[in-house]
Point group: C2
Chain length 590, copies 2
């Protein structure tokens, strides 16, 4: 059998879903993948037919050397590989490229060394220090870094394994920690406890020439130390979060990889966002990462496409999201069980939770279930994942609500923000909210007060953060001097719709002019900064205009708007027929 392609790449696996997804990308380029993993039936081996797969452990030096003898490029899906074996490959097979490089893997294997190394390049990290696994040393670390204290194994720590949170400094607590972390058999270090607002991750791709590009920053939500949910892209939680956060997170992640590491491939950078809007890097993985699974359906090239391109020296692919928003939910095993054959057409696994989630995903528009083909389900084991895409955060949250409790309880990110200078404008602005609620229930909105003259700082925070919060259109109602719409438009790139309000009251300042004062103020914006002005007091039209604007990203809303227009026509038709039946004279009396 003649090989049909020119490339061979190997994966050393463990668990195997990352290798499996990489193999799917490789098959699109007709790149042959050979896998080293235990068993003939490891997840990555299932979806690439090869007579050159190897049965063995990624810690078995002989097997690694055997694999290297068959390939051009060697990559890993787990950083706990035997680095000495990789160094031996370098000598035995000098033409085989290894990505990421053994030195990078060695650095990352030791979390303390990794942090020490990153600190050389002014990468933001929380306070940490080495600590001996003795009561005295740990007490000293508590003295230095405070309680609670995060004690971690320097090596072999992931998904919460090898981490211990010390909450008290008594000898009982300390000896429990030492017992949990392996009674001195492993080296430890201590991290200052970080009170974070949220957790972020950025996938970075490092090209063979050292170029780095990044995917959008995402929010990760962990449960029992295991990645549970991912929201992409990250959204600001409120108007006081730094509007630059998403860009800053990407920049910090790119810098860490660009300066800190060698070799090509994808790196997953996990970060904490603190109360003061600063970012700290938590951990780095030298490989595709759980927080980047969403890229398969949601980005122009996936993290697997790009890992492959990077290690083969091919041009890197676009990391841009091609959908408005995405969510990713891990499918974790609920019990210990192994699968067997069955003829059921809708039953995928012996784990009921997995069945249920998969079927829910199949029933949800925009959801793509990924099952990893693992023979054994174990409690907490990553058995698969579900990615959900949609045109907006709101749509993704709504689609994910049935199978994720956090999605169910979170308020939707508004697509339209309705603001006004004063609560006295509310009666005029209320019809905007009402028509959205009644006719366009899929478009979430918020209603709040922002006064240009009484809360100028809030005005700035509001305008600067709106796009980052996921808002697509701002409707601003104002009377009198009516500066609000124009000032907001000058501090955001979003479209702003202005509603001139007829301020009859003295407090509104424009009594007697019938809203013409506000109309001119909103309409006659200088060249460069437009406000979409609607008729005086006509907040209904502002809302309908906002829906038309949102239809640019959600074409089904155009159809909904045309149906709305047809209903307006039907209403007139009804009146025509009543007028015809009753006569204009009678009709006029009503």
């Amino acid at each position: 059998m003649a090989p049909k392609c020119y490339l061979f790449i190997s994966i050393m696996s463990s668990g195997g879903q990352l290798g499996r997804m990489l193999a799917a990308s490789a098959s699109l380029l007709n790149v042959q993948v050979n896998v080293l993993d235990v068993g003939a039936d490891a997840p990555a081996k299932q979806i690439i037919a090869s007579s050159s797969h190897i049965d063995g452990s990624f810690r078995d030096k002989e097997k690694i050397l055997e694999l290297a003898s068959k390939v051009d490029v060697l990559t890993v899906e787990i950083e706990h590989v035997d680095v000495d074996a990789l160094e031996a490959v370098r000598i035995a097979h000098p033409n085989v490229q290894i990505h990421p490089t053994p030195s990078t893997i060695r650095l990352i294997q030791d979390k303390f060394a990794q942090k020490q190394h990153l600190s050389l390049f002014a990468i933001p990290l929380g306070p940490f220090q080495a600590v001996e696994p003795t009561p005295d040393a740990i007490a000293q670390a508590v003295n230095d870094l405070g309680l609670p204290l995060m004690l971690k194994s320097r090596t072999m720590a992931y998904d919460g394994r090898g981490n211990y949170a010390l909450h008290a400094v008594d000898s009982q607590s300390i000896s429990s920690a030492i017992d949990f972390l392996g009674s001195g058999s492993r080296q430890l270090y201590a991290e200052k406890w970080v009170l974070f607002v949220k957790e972020l991750a950025v996938m970075v791709v490092r090209g063979i020439d050292g170029t780095v590009i990044s995917y959008p920053a995402v929010e990760t939500i962990h449960k029992d130390n295991i990645c549970h949910l991912v929201w992409a892209p990250i959204r600001l939680g409120g108007i006081n979060e730094d509007p630059e956060l998403p860009r800053k997170a990407e920049r910090v992640a790119r810098e860490a990889i660009e300066k800190g590491f060698e070799g090509a491939g994808v790196f997953g950078v996990e970060m904490f966002l603190l109360e003061d809007n600063s970012l700290l890097i938590n951990e780095i993985a030298p490989r595709p990462h759980n927080s980047g699974h969403y890229t398969i359906e949601a980005c122009e090239s996936s993290q697997y496409d790009n890992h492959l391109r990077a290690i083969l020296g091919l041009p890197l692919g676009s990391t841009r999201m091609k959908v408005g928003a995405a969510g990713m939910l891990n499918i974790l095993g609920s019990s210990n069980s192994s699968s067997s054959m069955s003829s059921s057409l809708v039953s995928f696994s012996p784990d009921l939770l997995i069945d249920k989630l998969t079927y829910l995903a199949l029933s949800t528009p925009g959801a793509s279930p990924h099952l990893y083909g693992k023979a054994q389900s174990r409690k907490g084991r990553k058995m698969g994942h579900i990615t959900v895409v949609g045109s907006s955060d709101a749509e993704v949250r709504q689609r994910m609500a049935p199978f994720s409790s956090p999605a169910r309880t979170l308020p939707p990110h508004p697509l339209i923000s309705i603001i006004m200078g004063s609560d006295s404008d509310l009666p005029t602005m209320l019809p905007a909210a009402q028509i959205l609620q009644k006719h366009f229930p899929s478009v979430p909105f918020e209603v709040t007060l922002v006064s240009a003259h009484r809360t100028p700082l809030r005005l700035m925070s509001f305008a600067k953060s709106a796009a980052g919060r996921g808002v697509k259109v701002i409707i601003a109602g104002a009377g009198g001097a009516a500066h609000l719409p124009g000032m907001v438009a000058s501090m955001t790139g979003l479209p702003v719709v202005g509603v001139p309000v007829d301020s009859k009251s003295v407090s509104g300042g424009g009594g007697g002019l019938g809203g013409v004062d506000a109309m001119w103020s909103i309409l006659q914006m200088p060249r460069g900064i437009p406000v979409a002005t609607v008729a005086i007091n006509n907040s209904t039209n502002a809302a309908l205009l906002a829906v038309r604007i949102i239809s640019v990203g959600q074409p089904h809303l155009i159809t909904q708007m045309e149906e709305y227009l047809n209903r307006l026509g039907d209403e007139v038709e009804r009146k025509i027929s009543v007028m015809g039946e009753t006569g204009w004279g009678e009709y006029g009396k009503k």
Copy 2:
């Protein structure tokens, strides 16, 4: 080795790319696929490891029965399969489900029978009739249907094989036709020559319960009778095309499959659009189709996902596009060659054209190359395809231009349409066009005249067709009575930006009012139909507002708009420093 999933499905292959892509979908659900195809190394077999693949032809009854003995569900990727063998499977293995059903496959194998059958259900078809392969019978068919006449083999005709266009009725021409079509060994039929405006395709999914859903209609462009390019979704070619065309095409396709055929799975329905806006069905394939490859990257569930879901009786997936637009280009072999091993990291095949296209695709944002792993390249053979996604038609065309001559020569579909009632408005509206061209070159626009009062029918065609032509925002400038923006807004769901024009001339009708006449007319729209009004004569702001609106679907435009705002600020900063240096007195004299 214990099987890890409960499902087995089989594919009878030929060429193998459809089976290969179906297998990729199956692996996500952990569904085991066994393939019957010639050779151990067929495309679909490469990406699913199985000890149960079968080496043999899809026309070999024994092999088909052997395959059936190993599976729960049998499906095909080619309709030229041995239907008698499928009938035999029914008897030998009554529990094996076969999709599509043998009767459907038999009907579709014979194109004449297919058309006769469809004509029973009032499905729109061009005139056709059976014809014996004799000179007299063919001359009679010419008499009935005219010249040129399309002569077709009833069976085994695809990608242009088995089709012959007869242009003259002399005996030499007729005998050439008979020779080409197989000297009477095959049954023939004749079709009236159809002068089509464009070719369309709709992928339809038929669920196991008979429910049908459809993907968006796409435009297909054939070269030498082979599908060459696909544009998704289809766009109207001009304001006179039927605005309902995309919906009508989907409806016709769904009806044909719903009424005409049995069994579950995906059907590809190819259609012609005629000059008079009517649609004719050309051919139907009972399987995933070349014109639906784009769905892998562009839709919420791909045609392969949905074929699998349909034949397994699982819930059907959403067919909605998740990107603004997509294009698909087939990679056809340019020469006869077979591949061999090489160590080059960027060379994928011995066919230079394939190498070149693949590398181009890797260098193009939003492009995904799919190579099928075929060992032999032949001239015209489908070796792979490239799908390109983008936020708009314009972006997809621009991305595809380097590797497709049709994409290069076609004018981009405009995202913004700038219209005005009279050419006397042009000087006022010109700055809109100029600022788009200068600062936002990625946003294509058109400029034309539409007069509410002098071309009311054009007004209606323009408004009704705008969304279908791919327009996202309409900018309408008008003076005097200024009905244009509001009337357009009443006949489309798109956002409309109105520019009040100060009509100084008598012809404009509003001389002396400084544009206030037009301003009130545009601004004071009734509740229900909004127009986004900008300052009098300020077409610059209309264009900038349109870009802000388009940013809803193209978030990178928000960043571009913020950069534009920053440049406005920089310009003022510069003036501040000049005023500071020269003093306000000097500055004021300039």
